[in-house]
């Protein structure tokens, strides 16, 4: 051990290497975290641009801007890029930056694998995005790629899409292994499991979810690959296969996947709300148990995405009850956040604004989720804009506001500067108004009977679609402001102290801001 440390010292290898090779070859968790976050924001803008195309086409009835073929490619790519390119890598980026700092570890446990799991991602997305330029166009069967539309009837580029999904899956699995290895092995002395920060807890559980379900996704796309290229009939009824099998396998991955996209945000918000309430988190233990319960339940609710496929009534009832049960632990979390704010000493800097909006709007998404769980009512909601409203409420003000809250909360630690609070508040309010204007009317559209994934619609849906598009343009344009704020914060600004938020708790605030390239070479002691 000491021999290794000595050679290191003689090389004067304390700071980062220079130039591009620093980023290509880095094994530093902070560098890799930064790259994940930059990659994620790039994908967020790309996926967002596609959303703008969708909303522009839906601004008015009739086909104006794009043809249905291209519209379907946009909805598909928007979904895939946002889920796999924007939200998931953003959380991995946060995990890379914050988990070692929060548990007092010098780095991630498997730094070289960390480098590889990042660099696989740009490769995967290069392949995925290149399908837009292929003959026959990009995948056009929705981000859920139901067979046989995606197999027998898919465009030639489907095979490239499958390859891209495989690479993303490998990247996610390696990232998850790294997170688990780090958390289980590198915690500072004295940090027992039940003393871990909640962000670390939620990520630990998320990582187990990832390891459990990413192979299932890999399995389902491999079956597609076989059906398309090697003459099998997993999903082709005329060869003895079953198109519904696809949906079972896909949603066995897909439902835990939606919790993968929200649990780390739960964790981050559980740090931010106490910090700006200047009061400890209410019910730490019940928060941990609630996340565990949500994660376990996520494996037994998948068929609620399939209430209309004709599963037997006993199955229908089981999945309805199991889904309704999820409301209990989720409710516990919301009640705990509110109880944390109750009788605190609240202030509303940008992280807190995003965190409070997260709690309110995510809860609204949870309410519509509870409505969707009622199987008979789901027959009316299923595959309408009500569903689109629901999952955008849990993903935009859920996952994405959670990421913004985290970014503003930890930017001073990352850059050593305070961000511009006025601009950040502007970013928040424009995002808040734009997001609600874009997605709230979708509830009404769905209840009035507008199916999702259509490029053109009947006249009674015209007004709310226009409102929704205006909101979407507003939300989309506002995100450029975030880019400006971050660039400004990196370049300069008020110097941040080691602990810029007076109510914040945790090891990450014991190191200077910006966090040095190497931290916790000697583990801290946790009481």
């Amino acid at each position: 051990m000491s021999a290794v440390a000595d050679t290191h010292a003689q090389d004067h290898h304390h700071g980062p290497a220079k130039g591009f090779s620093r980023w290509l070859l880095t094994t530093n968790h902070k560098d890799i975290g930064t790259m994940y976050l930059i990659f994620s924001f790039t994908m967020f803008l790309l996926g967002g641009t596609m959303a703008m195309v969708i909303r522009a086409e839906l601004f008015q009835p009739g086909l104006q801007i794009v043809q249905p073929e291209f519209f379907n490619q946009m909805t598909t790519m928007h979904g895939l890029i946002m889920v796999f390119g924007a939200v998931m890598p953003a959380f991995v980026g946060l995990a890379n930056w914050m988990i070692p700092l929060m548990i007092g570890a010098p780095d991630m446990a498997l730094p070289r694998m960390n480098n590889w799991s990042f660099w696989l991602l740009p490769c995967a997305f290069l392949i995925l995005v290149s399908t837009l330029f292929m003959e026959g166009g990009a995948p056009n069967f929705g981000w859920t790629f139901y067979a046989p539309l995606s197999t027998t009837y898919g465009p030639p580029s489907t095979t490239f899409f499958i390859f891209a999904v495989h690479i993303m899956g490998i990247s996610s699995i390696m990232g998850a292994i790294n997170v688990i290895a780090t958390i289980l092995n590198l915690r500072a002395p004295g940090m027992t499991l039940m003393k871990m920060p909640l962000f670390v807890w939620t990520w630990l559980i998320t990582a187990f979810l990832l390891i459990a379900v990413m192979p299932v996704l890999a399995g389902v796309v491999t079956m597609m690959l076989m059906d398309i290229n090697f003459g099998t009939s997993f999903f082709d009824a005329s060869g003895g296969g079953d198109p519904v099998l696809f949906q079972h396998v896909f949603w066995f991955f897909g439902h835990p996947e939606v919790y993968i996209m929200i649990l780390p945000a739960f964790g981050a918000v559980s740090h931010i709300i106490p910090a700006f309430s200047r009061k400890p988190l209410f019910g730490y233990a019940s928060m941990v148990y609630a996340v565990g319960a949500i994660a376990l339940l996520s494996f037994v609710v998948w068929a609620h995405h399939m209430f209309t496929v004709g599963i037997p009534i006993t199955g229908q009832l089981f999945f309805m009850y199991a889904t309704m049960l999820i409301a209990v632990p989720t409710g516990v979390k919301v009640f705990n956040w509110v109880a944390t704010m109750f009788r605190g000493s609240l202030s509303f800097e940008a992280p807190m604004l995003f965190a409070v909006a997260f709690v309110i709007l995510f809860t609204i998404g949870g309410f519509s989720g509870l409505m969707l769980a009622i199987a008979p009512a789901d027959f009316q909601y299923h595959d309408t804009y009500f569903v689109v409203a629901h999952f955008h409420y849990v993903l935009v003000p859920g996952a994405i506001f959670g990421i913004f809250a985290s970014a503003y909360f930890w930017l001073p630690k990352w850059t050593g500067h305070m961000y511009d609070e006025t601009l950040a508040k502007t970013h928040f309010w424009l995002s808040f108004v734009g997001m609600n204007l874009a997605f709230f009317p979708m509830h009404f559209l769905g209840l009035a009977g507008m199916p999702r994934r259509i490029p053109d619609y009947a006249l009674q849906f015209a007004d709310f679609n226009m409102v929704s598009s205006i909101g979407a343009f507003m939300f989309g344009a506002t995100q450029l402001l975030f880019l400006l704020i971050v660039v400004k914060c990196i370049k300069g600004g008020k110097k941040a102290s080691a602990k810029p938020w007076d109510g914040a708790e945790g090891l990450e605030w014991t190191v200077p801001s910006p966090a040095p390239y190497h931290t916790f070479a000697t583990p801290p002691e946790v009481k």
Partner: protein, 374 residues
């Protein structure tokens, strides 16, 4: 520009005076016209109000904290972070609410799944991108295609009242009778939805799903395909006419006679001109969605027919691909979708339209014989 100004005005008016434009600013689900749809509506309203009450309570506490416990107002933080009684209570109370909610939901679901003792059985088959309705006890059936003109979709014409929700042949059902639908698909998964009935069922190739309805009010009810099924997913509406029993009986008689007449047409001697005329119409409804009205297609998924090897080469190969389709591609087998007359007309049309001047024709009789040989 004027359209934009009008829309902006409508938007403003709609926001300020919601009562003025109720039709366009519908906020809620409608109760529909069947027992099922009314039960669903009641469930929907119950769960909605439960959510509203919980929301008001939770957000009420939160907003009160936001207003009363601000640091800027000099609030000093308390230090509590646990309370076992409260935590157990807010775990149990939601659970009890859920149990109460699950009871009526289960009852409705059991009722929705009971498709026994039906009086009319109709097989509904989803195709890219149309519906086929077969009255299995009466031995006739037909296709139902979008009838909104392309010019309206492309904004060259003013959009009609039922834009995108109108078809050439609606499904006709009798009022007051339990109608069972056997739902399946020919190519990809579709989903058959009529909101006013509270009926939505996925149409899955190779499998038959059952659902049912009993409509009490005569009227025309409109819905759409709700499972992404390819490029024209947004253009395959469902229109159902519920009519009184006598009208329904007349409709059935008329359809049966028409089916009989169609069979006779097969034996008739057709001229080239007659086939071309009929072929153009059949082509527009059955083929143009993919191969385009001018035969240019949308390669590579949908090849051009204009000047193509198939449409100008060997006649037998052309008949084979139209009747039997081509496996592994989007080309469907039209042998059972179109009558012999329409098959003959379409093939003749394709071989002689858009400069494909082979001068060859095929008669319904030849198609009939070809199908019988298989």
């Amino acid at each position: 520009m004027r359209v934009h100004a009008q829309r902006a005005g409508a938007l403003l008016g709609g926001l300020m005076f919601p009562a003025w434009s109720m039709a366009d600013w519908t906020l809620n689900m409608t109760p529909g016209v069947t027992g099922t749809s009314n039960e669903i509506f009641d469930l929907h309203m119950t769960i909605l109000w439960i959510c509203v009450v919980i929301g008001v309570a939770v957000f009420g506490v939160m907003f009160w904290s936001i207003f009363a416990h601000r640091k800027s107002q000099g609030a000093k933080p308390a230090n509590f972070h646990e309370n076992t009684v409260v935590e157990i209570l807010w775990t149990i109370i939601p659970f009890v609410i859920l149990v109460v909610m699950a009871i009526p939901a289960t009852a409705t679901l059991v009722d929705m799944y009971d498709s026994t003792e039906s009086e009319v059985d109709i097989k509904v088959t989803g195709y890219q991108w149309k519906w086929q309705y077969e009255y299995i006890n009466e031995d006739f059936g037909y296709f139902s295609n979008l009838s909104t003109p392309g010019d309206q979709i492309a904004n060259r014409q003013t959009k009609g009242e039922n834009y995108l929700l109108e078809v050439d042949n609606p499904l006709v059902i009798p009022v007051g009778k339990k109608v069972r639908f056997l739902v399946t698909a020919n190519d990809v998964i579709h989903s058959w939805w009529v909101p006013d009935f509270g009926v939505k069922k996925d149409a899955i190739p190779g499998f038959i799903n059952e659902t049912w309805t009993r409509v009490d009010e005569p009227g025309t009810y409109r819905g759409q395909c709700t499972e992404l099924c390819g490029k024209n997913h947004g253009f395959m509406p469902v229109v159902v006419k519920a009519v009184p029993q006598e009208e329904y009986a007349a409709f059935v008689a008329e359809q049966k006679a028409a089916a009989e007449k169609e069979r006779e047409l097969t034996q008739k001697d057709w001229t080239m001109a007659e086939l071309m005329e009929r072929g153009e119409k059949a082509y527009q409804t059955a083929c143009a969605a993919c191969h385009q009205a001018d035969g240019s297609g949308a390669p590579p998924a949908f090849p051009a027919l204009k000047g193509s090897q198939i449409a100008t080469g060997d006649m037998a190969a052309h008949i084979d691909i139209v009747v039997n389709g081509k496996s592994g591609t989007a080309m469907q087998a039209f042998g059972n979708q179109l009558s012999e007359v329409d098959l003959a007309a379409v093939i003749t049309y394709e071989r002689n339209a858009w400069g494909n001047s082979t001068g060859e024709m095929v008669t319904p009789k030849q198609i009939f014989d070809y199908k019988n040989q298989q």
